[in-house]
């Protein structure tokens, strides 16, 4: 009798303890959203919806618009994902299906190390080494052969949207690779064997069976990298050039929401400037939320499809 009441009390305490820890997440989330909304109030009142569509960013004249930052965020992230996703999948497939276990261990360890390198180091390396490489070799070459595309026109400056996108590629690559590798390693060996057993080649077994079996995890990996690219600040700030404009050329300088925030907070003397930066932060918060939600729905739809209609 006593035993059960004691048990019940302990269970209750446990429930309260865990629930209150979980509550911290909600409170934090709400607090951040509240602060962003409160601080961006002035800018919202001043510019209204036009804040999102205007690319004017003129602190002297008190003009602020988020369009160039949103554009830069989307473009640099898109470059990163376009390059990093296929590359990561190929590396992960190599590590799991093709490479000698010893090679796989060494390269895999390297990938994990890369994932652990602080972003400021990517930024410094990007500015001092990679940007110079881009300026001297990559951009002139692209300009020569693909200069007919508006994307690759203009003087090679080293820093700019393309360089930022490539740095982001290098930064998200290890994340997506490491998670995809883990996902592929979880594919039951007997499933792979049965693919080979009906006469599939290594490529066919990987593409049709292993990738398909692990596709939910791989989508998760992709969105992990996506989230990182979207919000990455330091490295991008170093190499993107920090100019508030929208250009069709990837060689031109640009900015992202995160890089503008990092760059300009300590310059923001006017209340309206500060408020605009807060609204910019709100936009990034909203974008992240939007994409996470989309990812969530996508994954759960896949889950339903897999579970079947039984």
């Amino acid at each position: 009798m006593n035993e059960t009441t004691r048990q019940r009390r302990v269970d209750r305490a446990f429930r309260i303890l865990t629930a209150s820890c979980a509550l911290v997440v909600i409170v934090l989330m709400g607090g951040i959203l509240f602060e962003l909304l409160r601080n961006s109030g002035m800018s919202m009142k001043e510019f209204g919806f036009g804040f999102l569509t205007s690319d004017a960013w003129n602190p002297g004249a008190g003009e602020f618009g988020a369009a160039s930052s949103i554009f830069g965020t989307v473009v640099s992230t898109a470059i990163a994902m376009l390059l990093a996703v296929p590359l990561s999948l190929i590396i992960a497939i190599y590590l799991v299906e093709v490479a000698h276990p010893r090679v796989s261990k060494i390269v895999g360890g390297g990938i994990e190390l890369l994932a652990a390198v602080p972003s400021i180091i990517y930024g410094m390396w990007g500015l001092f080494v990679f940007a110079a490489l881009m300026q001297e070799h990559v951009q002139p070459w692209l300009g020569r052969w693909f200069g007919f595309l508006p994307l690759f026109q203009g003087p090679p400056m080293g820093i700019g949207m393309l360089t930022a996108g490539l740095i982001l590629t290098l930064m998200v690559l290890p994340f997506i690779t490491a998670v995809t590798r883990d996902v592929l390693q979880m594919v039951p060996p007997v499933l792979k064997e049965s693919a080979h057993g009906v006469g599939a080649t290594m490529w066919e077994a990987t593409r049709h069976i292993a990738l398909k079996y692990g596709r939910r995890g791989i989508v998760g990996a992709v969105f992990l990298g996506f989230g990182r690219a979207l919000g990455e600040t330091m490295a991008v700030t170093f190499v993107i050039g920090n100019s508030h404009r929208i250009s069709s050329s990837l060689f031109d300088a640009g900015n992202t929401i995160a890089s503008s925030l990092a760059n300009e907070f300590n310059e923001a003397s006017e209340p309206i400037y500060l408020s605009s930066l807060f609204e910019l932060a709100l936009v990034l918060f909203g974008l992240t939320l939007l994409f996470q939600t989309l990812a969530h729905f996508w994954v759960s739809r896949m889950q339903r499809q897999e579970a079947g209609s039984r």
Binding site: T201, H208, I209, A307, R310
Partner: protein
């Protein structure tokens, strides 16, 4: 019920697989020792023996699936239809089309029921849409699954029960028209009713295919096989007509095993 072959029959039947001096190694560890056996064509041959005696290892040589693992190595001769399939020149894709394999657990591919069957077919044959669906239907019928799935071919295969999944895998193996079907304890993850269905299915397969069935279930071996090989510690101790192995084994170890003295 008892169609078990006789010793005379074993000698007179043409053999589908002739294994000569087969040795197998996991890295530095030898798992099979000088295996010699002739698997009779269009019969069911059971391989029995205690766990870890090399039963699965032995049949995994027949389609060279062991080669997926770097450290696994086979030496000797495995002649299927007059050709030593251990030679490096053998086309593995073609070999695996001719030698189907069923595993301990059902392994439906992550796709629909229809696509599971069509997948193997499309790897080997160029077929039009109508022929493809005809052949899928045919394979599912031979796999004794058609009546249960004909109305839900578009559903994911992993929505099927375990027993149905295993019959799906058998149908998938049949679809590429193999001559030899290897079954590695196909009922070990399946309930008794589903097991009975698969055993019935194996009986019908005998008319068109050569079946090698690894099982740890001696009743199963006695029920469905014509011939039985007893493996122990990597050696083939005894091979003969199932009836003879179970009623009058020649070797002491075989008798000890089937009477339940070990294993």
């Amino acid at each position: 019920m008892n169609r078990a072959g006789s010793a005379e029959e074993a000698r007179s039947l043409p053999s589908k697989v002739s294994v000569r001096n087969l040795n197998f190694y996991y890295g530095g560890q030898q798992a099979l020792f000088d295996n010699n056996i002739d698997i009779p064509e269009k019969r069911v041959t059971a391989i029995i023996g205690p766990s870890g005696c090399g039963k699965s290892t032995h049949i995994r040589v027949y389609n060279r699936i062991y080669e997926l693992y770097r450290t696994h190595r086979a030496e000797g001769q495995v002649v299927i239809d007059g050709k030593n399939i251990l030679l490096p020149s053998v086309d593995l894709i073609d070999l695996r089309k001719r030698v189907g394999m069923i595993f301990q657990r059902p392994t439906p591919f992550p796709m629909t029921i229809f696509d599971n069957i069509a997948y193997g077919l499309k790897l080997h044959y160029r077929v039009g849409r109508t022929e493809l669906s005809d052949r899928v239907e045919d394979a599912l019928k031979r796999g004794a699954l058609w009546d249960e799935v004909k109305d839900k071919l578009g559903e994911p295969a992993n929505a099927l029960s375990g027993g149905q999944q295993q019959r799906l895998c058998i149908a998938r193996a049949i679809a590429t028209e193999p001559e030899l079907i290897l079954m590695d304890e196909p009922c070990s993850a399946i309930d008794p009713v589903a097991t009975a269905k698969i055993e019935d299915l194996i009986q019908t397969l005998r008319d068109n295919y050569t079946v090698v069935l690894v099982t740890h279930n001696m009743q199963q071996a006695a029920r469905v096989s014509d011939f039985t090989a007893f493996f122990y510690k990597g050696y083939i101790i005894e091979f003969g007509a199932t009836k003879q192995i179970f009623t009058n084994p020649a070797e002491r170890e075989t008798e000890d095993y089937i009477t339940g003295r070990f294993g």
